[in-house]
């Protein structure tokens, strides 16, 4: 059911843990299956300097969290915001019933960024920026 890459991330998830006094934080739940994820961000300038997560969920949920954290860490906020759940699911080769697990990881990231923007409205990328990023990619 799972590809080896899922197992690998699941057995050795990157960036598990918490960050004390994070710059961005969120806890989200999946309405589909009850999975839950927590994301902690440390942001330096426009860059996500550190990320930690904790996930309650199946192998796919934990692997999605781990892969997402790996991709996010070190990226600029604008870059990180472009990562989609489809990309995660594709990279992990998730089977259909597990697609919602990759959605969970990306929702958690967005929620944690939102949390950061609430306290740092100046950091929120304008729609124009986002569009420019999109064209770059």
């Amino acid at each position: 059911m799972y590809k080896e890459i899922v197992i690998e991330h699941f057995m050795n998830p990157r960036n598990v843990g918490v960050i004390e006094n994070p710059d961005g934080y969120a806890q989200v739940e999946s309405s589909v299956c009850g999975d839950m994820m927590e994301i902690y961000l440390r942001i330096e300038g426009d860059r996500i300097a550190d990320i930690k997560f904790r996930t309650f969920g199946c192998a796919a949920a934990i692997a999605s969290s781990s892969l997402a954290s790996e991709w996010i860490k070190g990226k600029t906020i604008a870059e990180a915001a472009q990562i989609t759940d489809e990309q995660i699911a594709e990279e992990l080769g998730l089977p259909e019933p597990k697609l919602h697990c990759s959605v969970l990881a990306i929702s958690a990231l967005h929620a944690a960024l939102e949390d950061y923007f609430k306290r740092h409205p100046e950091a929120r990328p304008s729609i124009a920026d986002a569009a420019a990023q999109g064209n770059d990619a």
Binding site: F10, M11, G34, M36, T55, F56, G57, A59
Partner: protein
Amino acid sequence: MSTRRVIYMDHSATTPVDPRVVEAMLPYFTERYGNPSSVYRLGAEARAAIEAARQTIAELIGARPKEILFTSCGTESDNLALRGVAWASRHKGRHIITTPIEHHAVTHTCEQLEREFGFRITYVPVDRDGLVDPEDVARAITDETILISVMYANNEVGTIEPIAEIGQIARERGIPFHTDAVQAGGQLPIDVDALHVDLLSLSGHKFYAPKGVGALYVREGTPLLPTQTGGGQEFHRRAGTENVPYIVGMAKALELAYASLDEEAPRLQRLRDRLIEGVLERIPGARLTGHRTQRLPGHASFVFGGVDGEAILMYLDRANVAASTGSACASSESGPSPVLEAMGITGRQALGSLRLSLGRENTEEDVEYVLRVLPPIIEKLREFSPICPDAALR
């Protein structure tokens, strides 16, 4: 796969086929391949094999051969019992009584009867241990009730239901009583008269016969409209060319199971109790699900706070242990188990369930091995988890 032997502790999901059963089946593939409906000797030979199998199974459960129908699985047996009685009796009434902890083969069939065909279903509750109170069944009966279906032993939590008492009530009210004995078959003694059941489902692959063969006991006189129609097989009650090898195999397997029950059941029970003790002792916050003693001899099931069942399974798989979370058949459905919910174990707590079901090949060493590898797995997963185990436990 790894060369290390897998410690298979998922016998409630399915069992390996006993080599003696394979042996018994083999001639019927390439040599005694006649169609049992054919008049020539090759056909008569196949017919005789089926009737001998029917006789064997009938004797083992205290029935008459004519009351045993062979089916393609436990699911079909359950479906035939429910739909067959429902259709046959629909002009008498459209009320069925069952429980919320039945296998999906029962509950989803009830749901279809309700949604598509105007039946009304009453689910009598179960207690924290998963036990049905016969009095609740008695109270649920109306003039419209045409069928009561309560499983003999539950697949997820192992609890054994008071079937004889419920059967007694059904008998007194003249209502056909079905029990899904798929988990009980070969593990608990079955006597259809002592249990007062009118229909009883069995599935071969739970007692070391192959997947894809089942039986339904139907007491003479029970109304039943066939749900698979065609040739006159199975006394005109279940059409389709008979699966001769598997029918022979299932009878052989059930015979072997009951022949060794007196030693095997206490042996499994000892292993099970050691497993339960060990898990509860070594894993903080672990909780047994199902009744402590009134449970299947090889069945141990738990919930752990703060971790997800599938994640536990995957880690166990890497440690060469095959186990399950809730019903294997339900694994294509997500969300918390309705069985655990019915027992008051709700939400995220119910997601962290583990079932270890022991069988013939399992040894004391297997149990000790699992008791060694499981606690660190739970610990590790809890580290990943945002849910404080203590909070999850309350």
